[in-house]
Symmetry: C2
Subunit: 329 residues, 2 copies
Amino acid sequence: MSLGEFDRIDRFFAPLSRGAEGAFGLTDDAALLPVAADGAAWVVTVDALVAGVHFLPNDPADLVARKALRVNLSDLAAMGAVPYGYTLALALPPDLVEPEAWLDGFARGLRLDQDIYGIHLLGGDSVSTPGPVTLSVTAFGTVARERALRRSGARPGDDLWVSGTIGDSAIGLQVLAGADGPCVDPDATFLADRYRLPRPRVALGPALVGIATAALDVSDGLVQDAGHIARRSGVGVRIELARVPLSDSASRRIVAASSLHRDILTGGDDYELLFTAPVAQRSSVADAAAATGDTVTRIGRIEAGEGVEVLDADGRAVEGLARGGWSHF
Amino acid sequence: MSLGEFDRIDRFFAPLSRGAEGAFGLTDDAALLPVAADGAAWVVTVDALVAGVHFLPNDPADLVARKALRVNLSDLAAMGAVPYGYTLALALPPDLVEPEAWLDGFARGLRLDQDIYGIHLLGGDSVSTPGPVTLSVTAFGTVARERALRRSGARPGDDLWVSGTIGDSAIGLQVLAGADGPCVDPDATFLADRYRLPRPRVALGPALVGIATAALDVSDGLVQDAGHIARRSGVGVRIELARVPLSDSASRRIVAASSLHRDILTGGDDYELLFTAPVAQRSSVADAAAATGDTVTRIGRIEAGEGVEVLDADGRAVEGLARGGWSHF
């Protein structure tokens, strides 16, 4: 550690720990978590992001920070957990252009989302790397013990639900990859933003505890993640393509390029909640979503069997949705 | 995620989660921590390691894994916490030579230390990087609430203690950096091993709860870390150079190159516990160390004032120990 590192902690990171008593202002070797409420348990999740792999190398630092937090908050939401805080490991290359400006933007992004989600930095490690900017966030939340949402609870007859809209991020990444010149198309702007800045369903997840039978967040792609529920619950998942909710922007893009309608099913990075619930809970699901201000859509059902089947509007199975060697449907 | 990643998790990592019920075999979005015992709190720490920065690129994968765990366990020990488990974020380059053999060695190293320290893998994320092997471990332990060892509790009149021996790792790194050909010197082998594989004082730390007034683990260097206690406790630290415990191997090296005697004070990577305790607790400290099988040595005392002063055998201040711009003593 050089003096530079202590300065860096004092200036950019220690202020982000204020409000979390057990973080000790990042002055000690470790942090203390507060005692969870009676009957509650701590939930822990970790996600790593690498420049050039999980975000674009020229993405603004504040967006990188927020994306790192939000993909973790999405995992907590999928377990039904209320977020509390996070630790951060940050590896920065010494040849970073304007490192202070980068750190300033990064810390600003963390602060913005800390305020939005009511979380705090609990501890961290900042190191040098000869490689790209790399960060790893471990996020903490609490959920009623024995009631955490799992992938394994779906039962035949359950409805399959998804929050928000699917495919925006996948199309957004295509927009960003193919961007040729200044972008003035409001659809393109919306879709690119959906890729860059996930909206984790942090309120909906906890609201579904006791209602949903299984849940996860859609990060690998709708079909792949439905496959996780199928595999872990030992059931089959049937998705009706026409019911999959699309944003207006995505719908307009799909009219222009119909092949997109398949891409969005496997594109990933949606960070929406995919969950199952008994038919008798339909009004409870609707009430939970109304209470948290989220939209939810029933897109299919759980059946005895295995794997994932996607049906088009005519009831025919949609083929060829495998990606990256994933064949479990 | 590709199929390769699921295979990798199933084969190398899921087995490491067995024994930690709340890890769910790494099948879900997050893990649950068990309820801490009455009056206990969860302690969290994070450390990142980068190939070429924190370990040598050709270090065996099992040693890399064990070092990553151990530097975190050392942080827990410094807080007086008993280790429970950890999460892991691992970024691997696609051009890793023999990736399966590397992962096999890496998982073997984790398993070895899991068995030694009674800990489990709770969750993880495995990603690709165009950069060097990068890993980040977040470790969890428990300590009696309100009794965690901090850096801020040292009081004038307290003794200053250190566990084990100081400087082996710093000399070991020099040995490794200057190694020319096969190494047959047993001192060199011992010292290099001390650099490669820290021995965190996981039993001694918890045994010092209620006895030590302040503690940390020596990672930056004895003098720098003593400076942390001085700064956080608002006291001065006086270290007697002749009392600083040396291994036989380090002593022989210092006879051959007397300048080393200064280097070891600032070299770092010792992962020994540096702590303070009232004079009235000398026998309690000795008893605690005897009970855990660790050696401890009284190397100085706490005084009113600020900063760190190192005195030679004649009582003269040793000058010129600042390193890397660190000037807080």
